[in-house]
């Protein structure tokens, strides 16, 4: 047992294998990405045309410079030189125009594909059932929506089309060099694989250095995030100095990885340059020999033209390496995106499912269910709630109360048996139709950024301000909400900041009432409301329950007392059922629970009359 592991405020595991930053090119992924350009095919086809045009234009520009120097200037023709310059100008202008359109279309394409992908992903996420959301971390989704989508965008807009331009540029210029002089061209040809290999080796070293950087950086940000979130604990326990020291070590460690990466790229870039300088030297040597040797008589101008063309030929090599890297990142991103998109919902509404007007009879017959089908949580549950009845579910943690509620709300489907509303099996009811007539209040409900009013309106978006105020008044909590800094217009921050736990819960109550549901589910709904406030809204709550079928899970058994049915659960089975009075008389599990409650809560105080 160690008091504090060496030098760390937080410990985090290594990233998982499937979150690799890059993966090799994969035709099936590329083909699938290509499908996303189909809705924008006009753009895509024009773009392809422009790409080909530009791949020819670029080497031609360099060729023109060389040709003017080689031709008119060496032949001392002033008129030719000026005409050549003007010709170059014209060509340059058209090349820039091509560039403008190429750039615009490529970026348009990238942005549109990114937009479509994001929409599709989000729609897919919304359609996934709760089981998916309960096991998926938000951080992963966010990085799908940002980093991965962004990588795919770069892949579509830059990698593919820029590679085509640059590859084409290399081929065209190589062809031109070949025509000019095949012997000099051999030098270029010999050098190209050297540079390519260098490129590969160092890219690999560099990407491993980058991985170290991003790992150490994620340690920095993780620690930072916890330090900010846990600042109250830190200051409360006077840990400022210690934490600052730990953080300094972490930051220094991270900077060392940065220096290491610089060392890798510091070897690579100069070596690349060295080889292109080496090329110039070789060209000078061989070209010099060709020009000087009486048997060849190559014109000097050809040598000069070669210098210009060689630049056009070699320039793309470095950026091609970069593009290759981006392509692999895009592959990894695309693979993760498609894996998410391809995760099918475990179930969807049956095609024959229909909308119903709920009366409120809820029935479970012989239901067996487990989140993991191998390990059932509920065994052979049968219950009936008549319209307007209140059913209380009682039992220890893990006894299956919340699972029953998840089944009634159609968040999950039962393994065996059936859940029926008004006699219709849940599987035949469309989820939206059911959910519009049902409301759920949990111990800790989520509130969204926006005003308190907006949050209440989630229950019924069409509700007017008056409706909201009326609902709050009916719950007898209008004054509690109005005493917020800006009343119902108070802005709620992220994670409900600006509201206390209890205030958040009040918002959820009003939200549920506004929805005017036929079926109401309270899952420990008042647990985080303090008793003083609960006293206030207790009476109002019974208004809320009036005339609706209600399922109540509550630890304060006082709320259970007036239920029409009390179901006592133990390890996934209903072990006792009846009214409060009947169950107390049975002197079984329920009366024991009640005794425990009595011991904790009251200690024998009688209310003063």
């Amino acid at each position: 047992m160690k008091a504090s592991p060496p030098g760390l405020l937080t410990l985090s595991g290594p990233p998982r294998e499937r979150d690799r930053a890059q993966r090799p090119l994969d035709m099936s992924l590329i083909r699938r990405l290509f499908i996303y350009t189909r809705p924008h095919r006009t753009t895509r086809n024009w773009l392809t045309l422009l790409v080909i045009l530009r791949a020819i234009q670029l080497p031609f520009l360099a060729w023109t410079i060389g040709a003017v120097i080689n031709g008119a200037i060496t032949r001392s023709e002033v008129r030719g030189a000026v005409l050549g310059a003007l010709g170059f100008g014209l060509l340059a202008a058209t090349t820039q125009i091509t560039f403008s359109f190429r750039l615009r279309l490529a970026q348009l394409m990238g942005e549109r594909v990114m937009h479509d992908l994001r929409r599709e992903l989000f729609g897919h996420l919304l359609s996934m059932p709760m089981s998916f959301h309960n096991r998926t971390k938000l951080g992963r989704i966010i990085s799908r929506m940002t980093t991965d989508v962004e990588a795919v965008r770069v892949g579509v807009q830059d990698v593919f089309f820029v590679t085509c331009v640059q590859g084409g540029q290399m081929i065209t210029s190589a062809f031109m060099m070949l025509i000019l002089d095949w012997r000099l061209f051999l030098v270029v040809l010999a050098l190209a694989p050297v540079i390519w290999t260098l490129n590969r080796i160092f890219r690999m070293r560099l990407s491993s250095a980058q991985r170290d950087i991003s790992e150490s950086y994620s340690r920095v940000t993780a620690t930072l995030a916890e330090s900010v979130t846990g600042i109250r604990v830190t200051q409360g326990f006077v840990r400022q100095e210690v934490n600052a020291g730990l953080f300094e070590r972490l930051v220094r460690d991270h900077s060392q990885y940065n220096v290491n990466a610089a060392r890798a790229s510091g070897t690579f870039l100069p070596l690349l340059e060295l080889s292109s300088q080496g090329f110039t030297a070789c060209l000078l040597l061989l070209g010099g020999w060709l020009v000087l040797s009486p048997s060849h008589h190559m014109p000097v101008g050809t040598l000069i033209q070669f210098f210009f063309l060689a630049t056009v030929f070699f320039n793309p090599i470095q950026s091609l390496g970069n593009l290759y890297n981006q392509a692999m990142t895009a592959m990894a991103g695309a693979e993760r995106l498609f894996r998410l998109l391809d995760t099918p919902p475990e179930w969807t509404d049956a095609p024959a499912a229909r909308d119903i007007a709920v009366q409120g009879r809820v029935e479970l017959s012989h239901v067996t269910f487990g989140y993991d089908p191998q390990r059932p949580i509920l065994h052979d549950i049968t219950l009936v709630a008549e319209p307007g009845q209140t059913v209380a579910l009682v039992g220890h943690t893990g006894s299956g109360k919340s699972s029953i509620i998840n089944l009634i709300a159609k968040f999950y489907l039962p393994g065996e048996g059936e859940v029926r509303i008004d006699g219709v099996p849940l599987s035949d009811i469309r989820s939206p139709s059911l959910h519009h007539q049902m409301a759920l209040i949990q111990q800790q409900n989520f509130v969204f950024t926006g005003t308190v009013m907006d949050n209440i309106r989630v229950g019924r978006p069409a509700a007017s301000d008056e409706d909201v105020i009326t609902a709050a008044r009916r719950l007898d909590c209008l004054d509690l909400l109005e005493c917020l800094p800006e009343g119902l217009q108070t802005k709620v921050g992220e994670h409900g900041s600006g509201l206390s736990l209890g205030q958040r819960q009040l918002v959820c109550f009003v939200r549920a009432l506004l929805a005017n549901p036929r079926i109401l589910i309270l899952d420990e709904a008042t647990s985080s409301v303090d008793t003083m406030t609960e006293v206030r809204i207790q009476k109002a709550l019974s208004t809320l329950l009036q005339g609706r079928t209600c399922f109540v899970i509550a630890h304060r058994l006082s709320t259970v007392r007036h239920a029409d049915q009390v179901l006592v659960l133990d390890r996934g089975r209903i072990v006792e059922r009846g009214t409060h009075v009947q169950l107390l008389a049975q002197r079984g599990i329920y009366s024991n629970l009640y005794r425990q409650f009595a011991r904790l809560g009251l200690g024998g105080i009688r209310p003063t009359p």
Binding site: F122, L434, A515, V535, T608
Partner: protein, 629 residues
Amino acid sequence: MTTPSSGLAPGLDNGALIKRLLALTWRHRIGCLKVMSLQILLLAISLSGLGLTGLGIDFIRKVVQPDARAPHWPFGLVPPSHWSPMTVVAAIAGTLMLFALVRAVLNFTYTVELARLLQRDVVATLRTEVYAKLQRLSFRFFDDNASGSIINRVTSDVQATRLFIDGVIIQGLIMILSLAFYLVYMTSLHAGLTLICLSTTPLLILASAAFARMVRPAYAHNRTLVDKMLLVISESLQGIQVIKAFAREPETDARFASAVREVRDQKLWIINRLCIFTPIIGFLTDINIIILLGYGGYLVIQGELPLGAGMVVFAGLLQQFSGQVANISNIANSIQESLTAARRVFEVLDAPIEIASPPNAILLPRSRGIVEFHHVWFGYTPETMVLRDVTFKTQPGQCIAVLGTTGSGKSTLLSMIPRFYDPDRGTVLIDGLDARRYNLDDLRRNVGIVFQENFLFSNTVAANIAFGNPQASPAQIERAARIASAHDFIMGLRDGYNTVLAESGSDLSGGQRQRLAIARAILLDPAILLLDDPTAAIDPQTEHEIMSAMDSAMVGRTTFVVAHRLSTLRRANWILVLDRGRIVQAGTHDQLMVAKGPYQRQAAMQVVDDESLRMLNSPVEVPGTGGTL
């Protein structure tokens, strides 16, 4: 952008900021000097390489065309006349290679030195300073600033501040130097040609500056839009159950669609401008080459300019020159970016620490545990007071229960004791002295706190318990865990005390988290213990597990407990009932039970009705009194 009330220092104006940043650069002057001298050497060598290539061409041309201009040998280094032309070419090529080698070595050194300077010296130091400062800032700062923004100040803002050193100072000086070098070189080749070729440069600079000014706000706006979109995602997924329960998928999808569309459309606006501007700048650079070909060609023909060392070298120089000119807009961007970021960094570094030890602070090794509030008024904003005229006094070892509705000021009252906030009016006294006179760290070490929603670090269980005293021995840790009834469940974890907790302890139950928090609070054996409704956010079924932990934790300390359970309230020596920041009732349980008021009303709620009691009909132990029902 930020008001003083957000706990930040007021933003500096540009002049003051630049002064601060220059001082920062001065602190790292040796590293800067190293990096810059390397750059100058590199520049000189690359220019020589270019010159040599031109020389080679001219030499070959002279040999082939004897009527061409004679090559100009630099520094009078004329090759011996007995060398064959091929030997001379080989010598030039060899020198070129040598230069390239030296350049490669220098380049490597430069890259590594730059990374050392920036990442190790500047960024690491600055991050450490900002973090250390953050740790000391008062709660108000963290209340008023979103955690994302605070984290950004330490991460990206510090990186962007560093940009002032490399992107502005170093790049700027290099740019000026190399432009001067190029200019001198080109002028020495041909002054007229230089002048005409560079006539487009001012236009280039102006156009770049204008464009940057136009798109910069657009890019900033794009980032805001992306953040908005991300917020929709994160909220929709965190609140997915609410969305599904109310079948609000269509509305949510529409909300997201409009957020994504906004991002895309705004980006298309930027792209439209980018696609007009970039080619124009490109063409402005092309104009230089047109002039070079026409006018330069004329000059070569007239014999006023050598072909290799003149024309070809000129073409190379022009390219590099335009590269540096294009850099101007980068530098301009860096100035903007680094100033914005530096302002945010200095806002933190200069932020006043609102709550700190006074000079000549009184040391408080062990408090006696007497807490007194004397007409305390406090509000998070001056308009709304959360505590109004609160007055009370405790004796050592007493247990004070605080009761009140949501928003009545219970937590605020507790957080005044360890000076998380200072009162606006009135005084909080500890052992009879104003709390503000003590050494702050001493005061807080005397106060153990268990919050409503406790934060655990993703570290081992032991490290979390020993958070207040990393030097604590295993025996001490275990003792604290036992008092908090946490030892048994800890031993049941994978690695016992060495089990690493998931982020915010999410792999533990609420009750287990709170018991760890209680163990953490009592490890220091504080004289004063604050329990801010530790059962509020936990699974009600396991509430009783905490009750006993709380009970044993209270022994021998002055304890403040926000509580609603009658069992706890009964045992308190004194109960304060708060309503909208005022103490509306105070007394013992027995006194309050017989007084008409909010206390009696809420107690009645928790009482089991007579009928049920009769039916339970087996005797119920009443803790504390030994009596029976």
